[in-house]
Symmetry: none
Subunit: 505 residues, 2 copies
Amino acid sequence: MSSNQQPYDELITELKRISLLGSCASVLNWDRETYMPSGGAELRAEQVSLIAGLEHQWATSPQLGELLENLSQTDLGADDSVEAVNVREAKRSYERATKLPQRLVEELSRVSALSQHAWSEAKQANDFSAFEPWLKQMIALKREQAACLQQTDGPLYDALLDSYEPGMTTAQVQSTFSQLREQLVPLVAKIAEASNKPDRTIVCRSFPVDAQREFSKQMAAEIGFDFHRGRIDVSAHPFCSGFGPGDCRLTTRYDDHFFNMAFFGTLHEAGHGMYEQGLLPEHAGTPMGRAVSLGIHESQSRMWENLVGRSRSFWQHAYGNARKMFPESLGNVPLDAFYGAINYVEPSMIRVEADEVTYNLHIMLRFELEQKMIAGELEAEQIPEAWNETFREYFGIVPASDAEGCMQDVHWSAGYIGYFPTYALGNIYASQFFEAAQKQLGNLDELFARGEFQSLKEWLNKNIHQRGQQYPAAQLVEVVTGNSFSADALIKYLKLKFGSLYHLE
Amino acid sequence: MSSNQQPYDELITELKRISLLGSCASVLNWDRETYMPSGGAELRAEQVSLIAGLEHQWATSPQLGELLENLSQTDLGADDSVEAVNVREAKRSYERATKLPQRLVEELSRVSALSQHAWSEAKQANDFSAFEPWLKQMIALKREQAACLQQTDGPLYDALLDSYEPGMTTAQVQSTFSQLREQLVPLVAKIAEASNKPDRTIVCRSFPVDAQREFSKQMAAEIGFDFHRGRIDVSAHPFCSGFGPGDCRLTTRYDDHFFNMAFFGTLHEAGHGMYEQGLLPEHAGTPMGRAVSLGIHESQSRMWENLVGRSRSFWQHAYGNARKMFPESLGNVPLDAFYGAINYVEPSMIRVEADEVTYNLHIMLRFELEQKMIAGELEAEQIPEAWNETFREYFGIVPASDAEGCMQDVHWSAGYIGYFPTYALGNIYASQFFEAAQKQLGNLDELFARGEFQSLKEWLNKNIHQRGQQYPAAQLVEVVTGNSFSADALIKYLKLKFGSLYHLE
């Protein structure tokens, strides 16, 4: 490495500078979603666009390209050494960035802003025809983007998937999803027929917002989110934004007659936040200090939300406090009734409120439609019908409107096509990691029941967070769990948990 | 102008781009003071420093210099035409900026962020020794900055004063301040001896924070601050930051046993905010769309806070509502007792809580110490003692701690040395403007008593805000009032108001 030290240091300095600039835009975006007054929208768009333009310019500079080219031809040590990883991943990003013409980048950013606005209004008016031209344009732009990025002779969709889940192919996702689906569909059917059903209305009683805020913040802190290095605010669409070391922002939203939304939303975002807080500060701004993929990020949020937060043992610890916080609604509710209510399984229209079992079916539906859109086999105007048909096939029900059907999510309007699969991949990774953690740490339920979450958090810090982008997702799974990527652990977990909850055999 | 149109347009585009970048830093600074978790301080310092460095680079580019040089040698119309003003002021800024080395700019920005953080913690712990090394570093940096900027053979302090109050000299401030002081000291003494004193404890009763928040926000909206284009939050040190058209942020702080702090603080910041909101959007990012000076800015905040907000006529309108909001504390208090309490005059420790009469003495003390710091005659470690000595000389009392002594204000930690005098200049300008407005609009008290604030606001919009930097402060005073800059109007106002309130002679 010694002869490369100077150009390598130059690279790191430049990567950190680019990342620091990007982190300024993150603050601006966070403020837009949390505190910005309505009159500030136009100025904010100009600010963010100025920074995005600069960032793209820096990230595609010929000097950076030359530096990367030279460094990648020299000996940087083992493939998973800090230096090799940083050069490999920086080169990957550079090559992707430079494949996109400036015109396309600007067009995508412009149309995305306008299209999200059109989507939001069309959704509110339940008027798909007002959104359709924007969706049509977005699909065309994403196909063009995919064609620029495409490296193999596989489907175009591969290139989009690779933006969010590097290294994962459409074929791999298809095969894993179909295995998962084969098991989930009969499980959902059995649950539907079960005679012993929890009372879901318990979580729809009155839950005063102030108490929700206090309780969910307290539990987020207990599982390990560090509020000295982060905070939580309110936004219409919950998110987590890690600005960099020492500052990670979460958001949630409150419904005073629905416990699950803010509470599990907070644990979910705290899970994302603990990943951001667990990255090594000395690698901040470089691939070694950045999350592997959206799927791995989602594995952290879904693990804390579901595998921990929706477990019976978590509530053995937390329920006493919950009852104190919500005496009117939970005072006379036994632990197991509450546990049943937060885990109620039912085919439903809205992905973000779906239970652990049906959630993945929502993703598969979107994955199926997205592949067709990008392959040119599904036009924008055909989407509502295709959505409803597939929905009936998967869930046995049909959305009453496009607003709670194909227009429920912001993603397509924003150009996030290829993003949805990472949500289900996150569930799969989460189960694999959790199984491995169980093996290494002993009975996690016993720990949770005592309010002991630190062992799991530290295990995740060490095995996942601190590795940054050392390994692509599938390889990380192998390194951490000893098994290859597979839906087996998720299937086993769901069958065991819901088999017991619904008294299935 | 026609032959210069193209280079002029180029100039405007570049000025707007530089200003837009600066506005990103304003958002980052606002967030640092309002919502940023403590762990984010270091990252924030890096972010702000990156942007400040870039901004300085753009603001000192040779291309910009050439453009300005060429334009300033051509005919741009009358001296106070939009084009002439923009070129004149842009050139002034360019010349100042190019005198500062990039290293110094970045260092100042970085140290300022860290030092403010250290100040905040040291103030809380009342531990000057923890702040001292930062203050020492800051004084050194500011002396270096002054030496770079210095144009005349006057005191170094001139160069710093000129950063905040262009065109004003240390000698002018000294002479005006000594005239003011000659009149204030006997006035304070007379008031101290007055037999008829209001009951100050009225404003120290219980004022629930929620009601304070609602009432002060409502009155800020009534005087004309537009909450669709702004908002108000809480920070340790209240401020106003106009990000640009459509987005202006105010902050305040609440004490549930002191009415004045949040209420008059809010009116004060709203006065600043109305200046920002009154600038013409089409000139945003250019000198014609920017405030004249800090002193003129302060004239707006002090006018709404004091000349309006602490007037009897304002409360003739507002007191009924105040009593409804705070029935327990004000229900049995007559209007005049309340009016006396909010105008209680007394030597006190804290500048921002000082009454209108003693306030200016707080400024003179800081002005005196700052001149010595910059002249190299006062080291950081000597400041607490010098503060306390001068305080005794001016006020006859000594602060019990450094937290309420020399560490009470954020300014020095942030590098704002030369800034304090603009507060007293603001009081002087405010009285001159108010006198002129009275002459042109008729009896303002009658309007205020009916809750009619729009005439004054529009008069300020037209005569001050919409002029941007068309005239330097002293000239603006002449154009607007027909009189030259002088403390006479302020002295007359204070003698009249407090002579009547305290039944003097």
